[in-house]
């Protein structure tokens, strides 16, 4: 179990190589904290992470952020911090980001084109963040 865990952490840190050390440690700690307490489930999840390619681990945070910004936009609309027009714009931008993420994943080899598509997706997600930041808390 410990050997598998060590291997997984190395894979995770390698996957997070594009991020800063603090970010890599942050995501690793978050994932460890999320491991099910049951040892069988823990081994299962750790094994799954160990199998992930480094490009998957680069893409995973971007893909996760897509869900996070969509949920943030829905919450902001429900709390009337943004209007329907802004929410629709957030939806439109998120759909464009999703298409870029799919494009990057279709490549899978981490080529320049894939990384460019991923950068475009992050720019679109940043635009949604900016839209939501304009809303009062």
């Amino acid at each position: 179990m410990i050997r598998v865990l060590s291997f997984s952490l190395l894979a995770l840190l390698a996957g997070c190589a594009g991020f800063g050390r603090t970010e890599a440690l942050g995501v690793t700690q978050a994932l460890i904290a999320a491991l099910p307490q049951d040892s069988a489930q823990g081994s299962f999840l750790v094994g799954t992470l160990a199998d992930s390619s480094s490009f998957e681990m680069i893409m995973a945070p971007v893909k996760t952020r897509l869900a996070v910004v969509r949920r943030a936009a829905a919450k902001a609309l429900k709390e009337q911090r943004i209007d329907v027009v802004t929410a629709k714009e957030a939806l439109r931008l998120s759909d464009k980001a999703s298409a870029k993420i799919d494009l990057a994943w279709a490549d899978k080899q981490g080529t320049f084109a894939a990384k460019l598509a991923l950068t475009d997706a992050e720019d679109l997600l940043n635009q949604i963040d900016t839209l939501l930041k304009g809303a009062p808390k």
Binding site: P36, Q41, D51, A67, R70, A74
Partner: protein
């Protein structure tokens, strides 16, 4: 990476692992799991827009 993204990623992984176990599977596809999460979030946003429209 922002903390909310890290926690959301961890939560999605845990949810997908538990779902796979419940279905008797011994593995799941990470990208498929995250795609499901993004689609669920999209549905939430679309529902919120529909509810907010007069």
């Amino acid at each position: 990476m922002k903390v909310d993204v890290a926690l959301s990623l961890a939560s999605a992984l845990r949810g997908a692992a538990n779902k796979a176990i419940a279905e008797g599977k011994d593995e799941f596809d990470l990208m498929d799991a995250l795609s499901d999460e993004a689609e669920d979030a999209r549905d939430e946003l679309v529902d919120a827009i529909q509810e907010a429209q007069p």
